[in-house]
């Protein structure tokens, strides 16, 4: 009985273990993701977002649809439990807050500019920039998990780490933005479709 229990614990442990990739595996993943990003013109996906704050009893859950079009247009449309959309394009943020429209030029704000750029590149997965991040590579539950730790001191105060989870095709399935406090936002993409026709009108304010 004890051995069976130990075996179960070990199996469970193995399933959830996060092991470091070899540098060859990491290079393969980088190459695959870059190739995937190069051939991706558009992405559409449903998403579920969990905002985790340690002191809350439950994570705050919201849902919506995401659309991306090269080179740098992203739309996040929250549908539940509130109606809110945010479009990143041409260095500006366009917001529709339940009918109230506004836009912000983020060109002047370094932090938001960086965040904007990172959200865009994290959707494609292609943010393997060693000058901007300390990057480490893991395998977890049969998927690839990459930790990006920003090097910029000012940005580090805003976000401590990005964790991206990739499927076997090198597509991003999950983005986790971890704040300096340890609280985080986790975005899980589902029913992801690539290279479906999207026009500029899909990103209209």
């Amino acid at each position: 009985m004890y051995k069976l229990f130990l075996l179960l614990v070990l199996m469970f442990g193995a399933l959830h273990a996060q092991t470091k990739m070899t540098s060859a595996e990491a290079n393969d993943l980088r190459a695959m993701v870059k190739e995937q990003a190069k051939t991706t013109q558009t992405i559409t996906s449903d998403f579920t977002q969990f905002k985790h704050l340690d002191f809350l009893s439950n994570d705050i859950e919201s849902k919506g649809k995401m659309a991306f079009k090269t080179p740098d247009m992203v739309k996040w449309q929250y549908t539940q439990p509130f109606a809110y959309s945010i479009i990143f394009k041409n260095q500006e943020l366009y917001i529709n807050d339940d009918g109230d429209k506004s836009h912000i030029d983020v060109g002047g704000n370094k932090t938001f500019e960086q965040l904007n750029q990172l959200i865009t590149s994290s959707i494609r997965g292609d943010m393997f920039d060693d000058t901007q991040f300390d990057i480490s590579y893991f395998t977890k539950d049969g998927k690839s998990l990459v930790h990006f730790l920003p090097k910029d001191a000012q940005f580090k105060e805003f976000i401590k780490a990005f964790h991206l989870t990739f499927n076997n095709e090198g597509e991003v399935q999950e983005v986790k933005m971890i704040e300096p406090s340890g609280d985080y936002t986790q975005i899980i993409l589902s029913t992801r479709q690539t290279n479906q026709p999207l026009s500029d009108a899909d990103f209209a304010h």
Partner: protein, 202 residues
Amino acid sequence: MRILLTSIGIFLFIGCASYPKKNGFTTQTSLKSETINPYFSDILKDYVYKAKIDAFGNSFGGLFIVKKLSENHHRIVFTTEMGNTILDFEFKGQNLKIHRILPEMDKKLLINVLKRDFLALISEKPEIVKVFSKGEKMLIGAEVLSKKHRYWIADGKLTKIARTSGGKEKVTFLFSRINDNIVEEIQISHQSFDLKIELKAL
């Protein structure tokens, strides 16, 4: 002449009377320390609101989160819709600990305004000074951070708080769509400057 003088006297008397007297409230003597504001009093509940803020010509939104951790101990966090923390305040009694605030908002004046507003919002048992009643309505004079506040209670529900100075309302907190100690809509408006916060429960 006497009638005229009496009229003037009555006029002056009414004119100088306080808000409660003018509106037919009578003074109550029993001043028990009770929960006046129950809206953020349940430790088991996560209070999450969609927020819209209009401040100094700018308009922005986010999530406004309140959690009661223990008696007189609350955490208040404001994040963007995408989850980035704008501010993270912890109140123990009247003491504020700032866990995080966006550098652009890290101004003493603004922090003081937010501290006063948030404390008025979460204080369950403010220091009661006077209680007036009129039928099912109650008007309570109380102090939060040594500032005068009025609390309007109708049919046992808190519907409004106003911070007053010289008898005038400086900040108002309106509570609507109230069910079982849960308030679905809150509107905080400053009269002296351009700041309005609208909260809708999620």
